[in-house]
Symmetry: C2
Subunit: 615 residues, 2 copies
Amino acid sequence: MKISVRQLLIGKPLPTWRAAEERLPKILALPIFASDAMSSVAYATEAIMRNLLLGALALHNIVPITGAIVLLLMMVATSYRQTIFAYPSGGGSYIVAHDNLGKIPGLTAASSLLIDYVLTVSVSTAAGVAAITSTPVGHILAPYRAELCVAFIFIIALANLRGVRESGVLFALPTYVFIFSFVSMIALGGIKYLNGELHALPPPSLAPVPALQLPAAIFWFWILRSFAGGCTAMTGVEAISNGVQAFRKPESKNAATTLVWMAVILAVLFTGTSLLANYLRISPSVNATETVVSQIVSAIAGHGWFYYLIQAATAAILILAANTSFAGFPRLCSILAHDRFMPRQLANIGDRLVYSNGIMILAVLASVLVLVFHGEEQLLLPLYAVGVFLSFTLSQYGMVVHTRRLKEKNWKTSALISGVGGTVTAAVTLVMAITKFREGAWIVVLLIPILVLILLKINRHYMQLADQLRLPSERPTELPEMKNTVLVLVPGIHKGVLPAIQYAKSLSPDCRAVYIEADPEATALIEERWEKWGQGVPLVVLESPYRSIVQPILKYLDEVVGEHKRHIVTVVIPEFVPARRWQGILHNQSGLLLKLALLFRRNIVVANIRYYLEK
Amino acid sequence: MKISVRQLLIGKPLPTWRAAEERLPKILALPIFASDAMSSVAYATEAIMRNLLLGALALHNIVPITGAIVLLLMMVATSYRQTIFAYPSGGGSYIVAHDNLGKIPGLTAASSLLIDYVLTVSVSTAAGVAAITSTPVGHILAPYRAELCVAFIFIIALANLRGVRESGVLFALPTYVFIFSFVSMIALGGIKYLNGELHALPPPSLAPVPALQLPAAIFWFWILRSFAGGCTAMTGVEAISNGVQAFRKPESKNAATTLVWMAVILAVLFTGTSLLANYLRISPSVNATETVVSQIVSAIAGHGWFYYLIQAATAAILILAANTSFAGFPRLCSILAHDRFMPRQLANIGDRLVYSNGIMILAVLASVLVLVFHGEEQLLLPLYAVGVFLSFTLSQYGMVVHTRRLKEKNWKTSALISGVGGTVTAAVTLVMAITKFREGAWIVVLLIPILVLILLKINRHYMQLADQLRLPSERPTELPEMKNTVLVLVPGIHKGVLPAIQYAKSLSPDCRAVYIEADPEATALIEERWEKWGQGVPLVVLESPYRSIVQPILKYLDEVVGEHKRHIVTVVIPEFVPARRWQGILHNQSGLLLKLALLFRRNIVVANIRYYLEK
């Protein structure tokens, strides 16, 4: 019954040899690994504009800032493209930083990414749910935002537990609808612009902010802040380099091609959106009542079916952005577990050839986060993206060291791109951490080193374990002798204990029966019957003035264990198994209590011999 | 740590020989067994008056009705006094009915009492909490009524878990304060009346109901209903007869004396209250804003300290009434368990020489009831008292049979008292069940036979069990041979598995090592190392195409078990025990999973051999 519910939800187990078949074609890999990056098109332009407004800068600065971000995106993508070829087994920032910069930078990159994966799931489902609950129809769901987020998180987790291919198929359609509807919007806007059919919107009823002559330092601070705000468009770019092994052969080539596609699509959508926003003189609404994308599409195509298509696709991709983390987090955990920095269970592939444990942990952590923050993505946003940019930086500096060491063709150009990219992302990391520090980025700044310490501590334990378990190179001639004493507990003398006595007798020549004396008057009768039924095993009677079953046995066990060196005591407990489940409550659970009491005792082995009742 | 919290709450375990010392002197037994009966003085007079008002009968009928109830009380008490001497080992209605009328009447009496004990706890704590929350100060607690009830239930349960004597001391004071303050109120009222200082209250502002000339049938229906309403004063009278064994020696004599005291005090308090209510022409307030007792005491003594003393003592005794059930329910359960009608665990005496399991079950059931009914005692009242009167009836008819059989001195008078008493209580049971049927009494009418069936079913199981376990009178010359095969699971070859192999080898000549092949490429190496370290035990390699550890073992076990008749397979699982608790999560839990999977398999014994890590 239990197994069939499980199979209904996540499907039948898959054999190991099918792993190669479960690899992804590029057409499915793109939506899985790119939905996070793509989804940022829905808000990146707006993020830049809001920062410009806050700094009282002219909105037309959006164009050069978008250009700069696209340039940075290209550099980072190029750097990761090199990584894919240099490290075809996957692992992205963690592997690159660990391999080229050392253990601590590697673990720092890994910790940053892990934290950000969790945040991505929380932020993106919260944003997607907000897109639903801010429509007139979805408004009634507003009080259940956090619960809706958790529900979406578990739907995505379930799809991922079903397996890589199946979740790819599920999530491909919304991602492609998003891409094509946005491309159509930009194309339609471009055509209308060329035909002179498109006109700037009337300025908002608010008086426009006068373009002041700001001191250069303040001007550049706000330009940088706007730039950093727009950089959230780049989160998710590292995902493909982590998951090279999920691609069909030749893995590196396919992954690199997919990365290029993703970067180009992202650049086109982002640039197009920013250009349209600029041409249409759109200004972000003060109370965030209408998104910038919503304003653009209604200016170009009105409020028809196309408008609703774009809105629906936006909500869908925001929620699906979480899926990229579900591809990345478990893979990174398994790589860390393989390197003995995380619990071994995370390295295991589950029934469906995915890292089930990692998927479930991510779902639980992200759900907790959503519930703690009541599903409000505005509270979560300041924590977001710092980690990603830190890992970008470490990865790119790692690639600089890598290319310098190998000195392959054109290594100087490669190193230059990674170096400049790394320096810019380092600057973005700093700007993000400083400007959002008090709103929540401090949590992440604090968590990263803590997580690094935990990973190091886990690693130390596994290293010590290996030391303790290592066998000597020479086999010793003889192992030291081990003595086994068997105690069989006799609650009374009846048919149910006979097989237990017989079994106990077979285990060791030193076998003793133990009887707890609850009522001293009954002991004589028990001893008399033991003569007849005890199969020659000596009977030990333990007094129990406090009527406890467990205490006298523990005391006696301590005595017996002390009788010899290397002494193992096997406690045989006879148990009834009732014919029907409900009858179980009609029997004393002293066997269970005793088992629990012996759980943490050294040199004691508990064996239950069951006697099956027939009715 | 766990033990010390437990000891802090309920005290140190007590040895069995102290049981005699824990017996109760009469001065402590009275508050424990009488608080339920006493507490009804707080509302019985009012219950009669309300029924009279509902039937538009004159309120002065209170005097003859109270007289009739006191008469009935005396009959029932006399009958139970005989029971105490006839059945000095306790058991009350159940034992008497079972012994004289048969199994089904006995179980019916037991079921009725069990249900009523639970109801008493719920109703009386709810009434006590209502007394608190209806004061101006307590009003802020009104939204937490149900939670407060549960808190009081658990405080009383805890006191009872500490032991009979200690809970007696705790509860004695409020009971005696209640008795003495009520006696003082009645005495003061009597003196003032004799001095002519006491005057009837002015009639209430409502126009008094004209005393109509009712048809005789209707008149008697309402008289009966009022009588039945007032009969709730008698609940709890049976408690002492259940608990004779809690008294000091000579048990029967002491218990009988305490019963007489209780009946006399109850009669005095009840009669006095009704007489004062009648003389003062008190009428129950329409919205139950002020209780009858409150009106009486304020008419006699004004609103001074005495008024508040009476109110506080009333609230306290209402809550403490629950304590009588905590004395009765676990004792009745243990008697039923001893007779094999209830799970054996309920017969056990706990650490503190009380029936801990029964106490905890009562606390849980009463709490659930309170929570389901949101702590509103008005909803619970219709369910109440039907069970008690059914058990009174069965007990008294049982005593008729008993006295007729033994034919001791004055047996005819005894039989007459019990017979008349039983007939009256039978009538009261019927009136209660019918008039309150739709308001909730149907639940109890339905539950009693269901509970009887459950008790019968449990009894059947224990009888069948005894049959199955009974040893033949002649010992067979030889038990059929039993074969033991030992399988030791080898997750890898390292220091941690060596003791497990050594142990397994010692258990049986047929010992095999089992290795699950997760990665076929690693098997050759394992086999090679096994040559060196396997201590001569043959190695069985099981394929696992789905990477599961449990499935291949289960399949192999089925094969091995089938090899012989009477074949027991012992599975030895080596386990690490980490030096620190947190390290546990760093190890695979496959051993635990396997143990769970084997839990319900026949002829399989699981033994864990632990390897202790040092750091």
